[in-house]
């Protein structure tokens, strides 16, 4: 099948002003300035087929937004070639825009003071959507989410979750081939996140729309993406299935424990210190915790799981425990920290 998005050896450079420090530095800056070149995206190649949902991951400042801006035609690549649906986005921005939808998590593109339905009607005109097609989409939306109460509410009066939901619906309205979602679940509560994920899944399924999703929430990735692309400092680190990635970490398992009667977050640091003292190859262990569980990620090639258990039991009272395979969250964290 023909690829929908074809990115070949694309790089993007920015010129950044080096500011001097302090009062004297500022005065000097008035008269002379020096710039440095920063490579936001460095020689990236990706191809994406129709109907895929691709998770585009990377730490802050990795170059995710820059790549998306290039795919949407807002930025021109410094070198390399991008084809989106056969168009060069930068050259045919307007034509490209007809075929894509974009959602930026924290920036609503809807008309702030208009009720949602009016925004939809304007978009219908701007994208020249046929009446029948428009009716169908609205019908589909009504079957997927409860939008009736939102339709007549001005966007400025909506909660962040409602706004994000509306923005996503607006992005799919003109039946685009590709939708870019930039951190769509940022700042949302758990139930809203879930709602949004289900909606994205359903829209992708119904319309076979390609979705490119950047996020820091691995829950999004687990719920939606089969394939992930990871970049850091502009360079591509990984492009394949999540399962395949987890395969690299086959020797890792997570030991989940509930410790003591009323242990606090202090446990984290204390436990890590205690384990570090106990094992020579302590870098094979990492500790984290959430509200319920304290998790110890162990590389079993280096350290035996039962040894860790024993070391913990010597110091703490274990109320409960379970064993899990490495989670996406942990895989991604390891990659950000150590690379593939």
């Amino acid at each position: 099948m023909q690829n929908l998005i074809e990115i070949k050896e694309v790089s993007k450079e920015f010129k950044i002003l080096n500011r001097r420090e302090g009062l004297i530095g500022s005065v000097k800056d008035l008269f002379s300035r020096n710039y440095k070149i920063v490579k936001a995206v460095d020689n990236i190649s990706i191809s994406i087929a129709p109907g895929e949902i691709v998770g585009y991951l990377g730490p802050n400042g990795a170059g995710k937004s820059t790549t998306i801006k290039m795919m949407t035609g807002v930025l021109e690549p410094t070198s390399g070639e991008i084809l989106v649906n056969g168009n060069v986005p930068y050259k045919n921005r307007s034509k490209n825009a007809q075929e894509i939808g974009v959602v930026f998590g924290q920036r609503s593109q809807l008309w702030w003071s208009l009720p949602l339905i009016e925004s939809f009607r304007l978009l219908k005109d701007i994208y020249q959507i046929d009446d029948s097609e428009y009716e169908n989409v609205i019908k589909l939306y009504k079957s997927l989410v409860d939008i009736e109460p939102l339709l007549h509410k001005p966007v400025r009066q909506m909660s962040l979750g409602q706004r994000t939901l509306s923005d996503i619906l607006a992005a799919f309205l003109h039946n685009p081939k590709i939708v870019f979602l930039d951190e769509p679940t940022i700042g949302l509560d758990v139930s809203m996140k879930n709602k949004i994920r289900i909606l994205i899944q359903a829209l992708n399924h119904e319309k076979n729309t390609t979705v490119i999703l950047t996020t820091h929430d691995m829950g999004d990735v687990d719920a939606l993406c089969k394939r992930i692309v990871i970049i850091d400092k502009g360079k591509m680190l990984y492009d394949n299935d999540i399962e395949h990635l987890k395969g690299f970490f086959g020797s890792y398992r997570t030991l989940k424990l509930r410790l003591g009667e009323n242990e606090t977050q202090q446990t984290d640091v204390n436990l890590e210190n205690a384990l570090a003292k106990h094992f020579t190859e302590y870098e094979a262990i990492s500790v984290s915790s959430d509200d319920e569980w304290t998790s110890i990620l162990i590389n079993e090639e280096k350290i035996k799981l039962m040894d860790v258990m024993k070391a913990v039991q010597d110091n703490y009272f274990i109320r409960d425990m379970k064993l899990e395979e490495i989670s996406t969250e942990e895989v991604i964290r390891k990659i950000y920290e150590e690379g593939v």
Binding site: R19, L23, S26, V27, D29, L30
Partner: protein, 267 residues
């Protein structure tokens, strides 16, 4: 050290203004163009009138007056109404209220940095240029000292008016409308666009009972007066100080009352 925290704000303000090299240049160029227009306009006005002195002011007097009024405006204008209004709309004001400094002082001292920068980048160069261009028609004597003295209440009066108007923004949603009204009234009645001497008599009388003349007209009249009589100067400065105190009280009380209203209503 109480003053230290205020000076820290001043320093930040200086740093911030210096970041915007382009805006300094534009302001400079803008003034140049404005002054050119003023120069030619008044030159032809005086040429058409056929006399050297109109309403007791010569061409040089008027020119110096208007040029320095512009320089003073650039030096004193802080767009505080905008700042307060925007902070209210975005809700940032809540953060500022949490700071361990009174909001009124916080804002003032944050701006004081740009006073310093603007003094050196606009007022001083303009003043020197005017002295040279008009062949030192500006009397350089004790009047400079009086002028410097009268600038202090002028700055405070201007800021207090801004702050009072900014406080009104707590009640209305309209920043633009409120701000433009304030700006228009202050600019016209303070003598910043046309010297008060040119006003018709009745208007002049009315304006003299308003605080606005203390901002531009008073300092500039003092500066242009080569041999000042002490009594005269003292009266002018006295009026300034009275307005200054009155407006400080009004702005402070108004702010307190308004703030209570807001906290009661929950914003």
């Amino acid at each position: 050290m109480k003053l230290k925290k205020y000076f820290a704000l001043t320093r930040c303000g200086i740093l911030e203004s210096l970041q915007f090299r382009a805006s300094l240049l534009v302001m400079f160029a803008g003034n140049l163009v404005y002054l050119t227009v003023v120069y030619f306009l008044w030159k032809s006005i005086y040429a058409s009138s056929g006399t050297n002195s109109v309403n007791g002011m010569t061409f040089h007097d008027t020119l110096i007056y208007l040029v320095l009024a512009t320089a003073l405006f650039n030096f004193m204008e802080m767009y505080a109404v905008w700042e307060i209004g925007r902070n209210i709309q975005t809700g940032k004001i809540v953060l500022d209220l949490l700071k361990p400094i009174k909001y009124r002082s916080y804002l003032f001292w944050s701006y004081s940095g740009s006073f310093v920068v603007n003094f050196f980048t606009t007022f001083l160069p303009t003043f020197i240029t005017v002295c040279i261009v008009t062949n030192s028609a500006v009397p350089l004597g004790i009047n400079l000292l009086y002028f410097a003295l009268s600038i202090v209440p002028a700055v405070i009066i201007n800021y207090s008016i801004d702050f009072i108007v900014g406080t009104i923004c707590l009640y209305t949603e309209s920043i633009w409308g409120i701000n433009i009204m304030k700006q228009v009234i202050v600019m016209l009645f303070s003598g910043a666009t046309i010297p008060i001497a040119f006003f018709p008599k009745t208007l002049k009388n009315i304006v003299n009972y308003l605080p606005f003349t203390s901002i531009y007209n008073t300092p500039l009249s003092i500066l242009l007066n080569g041999n000042p009589q002490n009594a005269n100067i003292l009266t002018m400065l006295g009026i300034q100080v009275i307005w200054c105190i009155a407006l400080l009280i009004v702005s402070s009380v108004f702010w307190k009352i308004s703030l209570r209203q807001i906290t009661v209503n929950g914003g």
